[in-house]
């Protein structure tokens, strides 16, 4: 009889523990999505405004193009000056 009461109490405690809310530390992690999830459903901290991305893309292209044209122009000028100096020396 005493054994049955102990068993009943233990079953009740276990059932209560299982039925109650699970502490976050022991909660089962959510499976990571392996399918397409619309970005509108993504949490706000994961969303980047489109205007920032468009501005970054256009800004990057302009910086690269202007930088490269300037660098190429400078290298051409240096080479032309060097050729002129060497040709003067050769004469």
């Amino acid at each position: 009889m005493r054994f049955c009461r102990t068993l009943f109490l233990a079953a009740a405690v276990i059932a209560g523990a299982l039925a109650g809310p699970v502490p976050p530390a022991f909660a089962q992690p959510k499976p990571s999505p392996d399918e397409f999830v619309p970005l509108a459903e993504a949490p706000p901290e994961e969303q980047i405004p489109a205007i920032n991305l468009v501005a970054a893309a256009y800004g990057f292209v302009w910086i690269v193009v202007v930088g490269y044209v300037w660098s190429l122009g400078k290298r051409l000028q240096q080479a032309e000056a060097e050729i002129a100096a060497l040709e003067r020396k050769a004469r």
């Binding site: 970005l39 489109a50 205007i51 991305l53 468009v54 893309a57 051409l76 080479a79 032309e80 050729i83």
Partner: protein, 219 residues
């Protein structure tokens, strides 16, 4: 800088300067919205990236098998163009993808092979800069590997599963979106032609400088 290069550069600069207004007037793509506007700079630079690799590879083949030294100058110029237009493609693509796909990068066939092609030409330029005597022929061999990668990149989106849009997108664009796209393609093409010609001229001048130094040493 030749007169033609000046005209090409001025025209390309003017077209690129007005392009944001023309792109802004194009309609929004229904699912991606504003971020799809990156497409108008991303796609022309991606095409020129592949064209530059093609020019570098063909010029290198002419240099290696036809023994024409001027082809080497064009190969080097085109390799530098591949690196410039490649970095534009590889940076603007992920900026678009972050919003459209939800991730910056995916290791699929198109993106990975594009990155490999860009790295081949970065290696080519490093080899030409620091490789010493004989690096021109070694570099030409590398450019041929780059050339072999070009058709693979082009068809990759149609053959393998990828998030990247297929090559059938451009022909099916409505006129309101196709107009701004071809305007940007023409602007980038003019820029590419001017820069390619200027860079080849710089290489020819460097060869001339070497010849003048050698003549000076012999005298």
């Amino acid at each position: 800088m030749s007169r033609l290069n000046q005209i090409e550069l001025a025209l390309a600069g003017a077209m690129l300067a007005v392009s944001p207004w023309i792109i802004n007037a194009a309609p929004y793509e229904s699912t991606m919205g504003l971020v799809q506007k990156i497409f108008y700079y991303h796609m022309p630079s991606a095409w020129l990236f592949l064209i530059a690799a093609l020019v570098a590879g063909v010029s290198s083949a002419i240099f290696l098998f036809g023994r024409k030294p001027t082809a080497d100058a064009w190969a080097l110029a085109a390799a530098e163009m591949a690196v410039v237009f490649g970095i534009i493609t590889l940076v603007t693509g992920p900026l678009w993808a972050r919003k459209a796909w939800g991730i910056w990068w995916v290791w699929d066939a198109r993106l990975t092979s594009s990155l490999i092609l860009w790295m081949i030409f970065v290696a080519y330029l490093l080899l030409r800069r620091y490789g010493g005597p004989g690096s021109d022929k070694l570099g030409a061999g590398m450019a041929l590997f780059g050339l072999a990668n070009v058709p693979f990149i082009f068809v990759s989106v149609n053959v393998w599963r990828t998030l990247h849009p297929q090559t059938s997108v451009v022909p099916t664009l409505p006129v309101q979106m196709g107009g701004p796209l071809w305007f940007c393609v023409f602007a980038f093409l003019l820029l590419f032609l001017a820069l390619l010609s200027m860079r080849a001229r710089l290489q020819q001048q460097r060869v001339r400088i070497e010849q003048l130094y050698l003549a000076e040493d012999e005298a």
